[in-house]
Amino acid sequence: MDFSIASILTLDGVTNGAVYALLALATVLVFAVTRVIYIPQGEYVAFGALTLAMLQQGKVPGTVWFLLAMTVAAAIAEVVHGVRHHQAANRIAKTVLGTSAYPVAVAALVWWAAPQNFPLLVQAGLTLALVTPFGGLIYRLAYQSLADASVLVLLIVSVGVHFALTGLGLFFFGAEGFRNPSFWDERFTVGPLTLNGQTLIIFMASVAMIIGLWLFFERSLYGKALRATAINRLGARLMGISTDGAGRATFTVAAFIGALSGLLIGPTTTIFYDSGFLIGLKGFVAAVFAGLSSYPQALLGALCVGLLESFGSFWASAFKEVIVFSSIVPVLLWRSLRDPHGEEH
């Protein structure tokens, strides 16, 4: 290996690492606020990439029907909940409207916009708008009534959600894989490296997202409220913070990050309905690097995962996944030696 190969591999690793970093941040965020170890984070990646691919072909993406199906289920859940708690009819109607208004509107918009062949950036915006509400709906349907359950139960629920979303992904998107066009085809040459526009976009989007999250949690009142929920749910509730609202908001942010990652990674690789799982798990490995708690460490972990993957595929391409997933073992060893008395579960 000479310098130029090493630098190409490094660039490649850092590019993928930037996407894994986004997914790792989402995983840490969800765990911090809701204690849910959210295995299906990668599913949004596939949803995002496939939705854009369908829009590119001028077809109505399966995501539209998927979102409507979830909305109907959530509306039914709200009605059942309302009737059980003897709520007034207009209050139930209000909740149902609150849950379903945005998803129905955005589904209708995309349904209308799909055959219009809008420019790529508009379609990307539509994709984000369409995939983001999945987060809140998934939280409502799968987690909200179990919010006080143990981490273990929530983890098993996550696995169930992963199964359901993958199977439904197959139903709504089909088994065909797609590769999206680049957002920016410009190429820049820096020494031995060729940077293409897509790489730059990935970097910029990741950095912007990370800074945005940092500002949100450090500077905004609502961000602080979410952090309070993470530390003590009951205490937060007594301070007037809705923990259900916090959960939904967090899942919505996670879905947005996932869909964005899907848009970013879509032009670099072919995405199938089940591709998200492995991509998400790599973000997950990075989140475990960070002990599911530290954003900067998650970023660092994600870059390591990206580099391991690119160099691993150069030296032993068949074993790159083995290398990436085995790397979690020394990290856990280090964590357990550093802090042998983790909190009780």
């Binding site: 009534s145 143990s150 098993i156 199964f163 139903f171 856990l332 983790g342």
Partner: protein, 588 residues
Amino acid sequence: MLPRELRFPAFAAFMLVLPALPLPDFWITQLNYVGLYAIVSLGLVLLTGVAGLTSFGQAAFVGVGAYTAAFLSTKLGISPWLTLFVGIGLSVLVALALGAITLRMSGHYLPLATIAWGLALNYTMANMDWLGKYDGILGVPPITVAGFSLGSGRGIYVLIWIFALGAALAVTHLLDSRPGRAIRSLKTGTTMAEAMGVSTFRYKVIIFVVAAVLAAMSGWLFAHFQRTVNPSPFGIHKGIEYLFIAVIGGVGHVWGAFIGAGVVKLIEDQLQTLLPKLIGSSGNFEIIVFGLVLILVLKYAPDGLWTFITKWLPVQRRERDWAQAAALPQRDKPQPGELLLDVAEVRKEFGGLVAVNDVSFQIRAGDIVGLIGPNGAGKSTTFNLITGVLALTRGQVRFRGASIGGLPSREIARRGVSRTFQHVKMIPEMTVLENVALGGYLRSSSGTLKAMLRLDRDEERQLFAEAERQLARIGMDGQMHELAGNLALGPQRLMEIARALCTDPSLLLLDEPAAGLRHKEKQALADVLRQLKSEGMSILLVEHDMDFVMGLTDRIVVMEFGTRLIEGTPEEVQASPVVRAAYLGTEH
């Protein structure tokens, strides 16, 4: 309804004569899968349902067993009966390594590590030339028993079900034993179990290893039943499916693994033919149903299907067979007046907060010492420092002349210090008797293997005899067969005292024992403590009820804001203006 002792033999006999009946081969094959899946899920029942841990990597352990059997028997011609042990050995090594790394940390690191392990192993199997890559290894020979080949579905059926039933029996035995009670205590946190002398880390590793061994056995059977192995049945999704089986069946129950395996296998087959027809394209759509059902079960029936069956089974009490049991060994008791506990300038800082500020006091054998003070004075923290639940920032704790500061709480328990908790810590789904018997953990020795083989019965009788004796001592022997979770708070506190007594302590530390007791119960408790004192027991007691403390103790230590205010006899403390100021404030 069959009596309890006959239910298992009847079920086992029924399952084992099935292949002799004119049952279609299809059903025999189905039952083979049910047996194989149930063996793996049994491990998850132990891990997830009983101990509150989980693993998504069980399919990978099945793969280790299957690939070892296939590779060694086809490539090297080694007898299947030897490869079984090689496969088990390999999975034990992996489980020990993963367990040692993750199980000291909080509970969610094990499942995360097992996801990585499952993925890594699956990609390894799929890329190794000598393991046949994605095609796997073909032509695995059948198992032979005394020259008789088990190549047919019916032949291997008997072997699979002998393993499955044997595993079920072993796990059932394990759960009702000394190590079993320790394992069942893992789910409710580690503090109480450690205070009873249990190394919780050790038992977490043990059950993870047991689960891995069960999975490897299933893999060995699988390889010789299918006669071929390839990577796909050992992937991460299969690992999740095993967990699904256990949850559906009832993740806390041994027979839940069997019910779950049966239901999931049958439904999976139906869905795999039905759903693609319904949807009009092929694909594994059954995972949608699995995912949704998993979420619904966790929400609405977290105990799984097995509870719908146990509802119809009569509850049977443990048979009282320990009347003749020999007494457990007792430790040498200190002489009255001997210096027992010497707390010298202990200090605990939480960041900038000094919770306990250089507190010193002593307890002599035969004394009852009260530790009182307003809320937040640092009494419970002091307790936790003495019993090793919290680490000392500074200072010395000596017990019977030896330093115990910095030791883990189970080592302190071994030296004869036993305690109760301010917030009752118990295992609600065990009976009162079993909870108290956990206190006898350090006075007995039976291990996991001995318990599985049921060679621990003599010691079990001794333990139950001792537990009943301690319950009788506090007047609770009438309630010994009740579930601890069904007791009111008062009796639960008394049960904790019985459990502490069952450790045969030289010093008893009671954290607010009278809280939540009614007046009569308090008097009875005071009588019990006086009786203990007359028998030479030394007691340190944190309590808020002044009447209770004043009438009972020999000396009182008063704490305020982490510091020792004064120490003296109850009369001195009652007369002290400093104490009055601490509790009621000063006049201005």
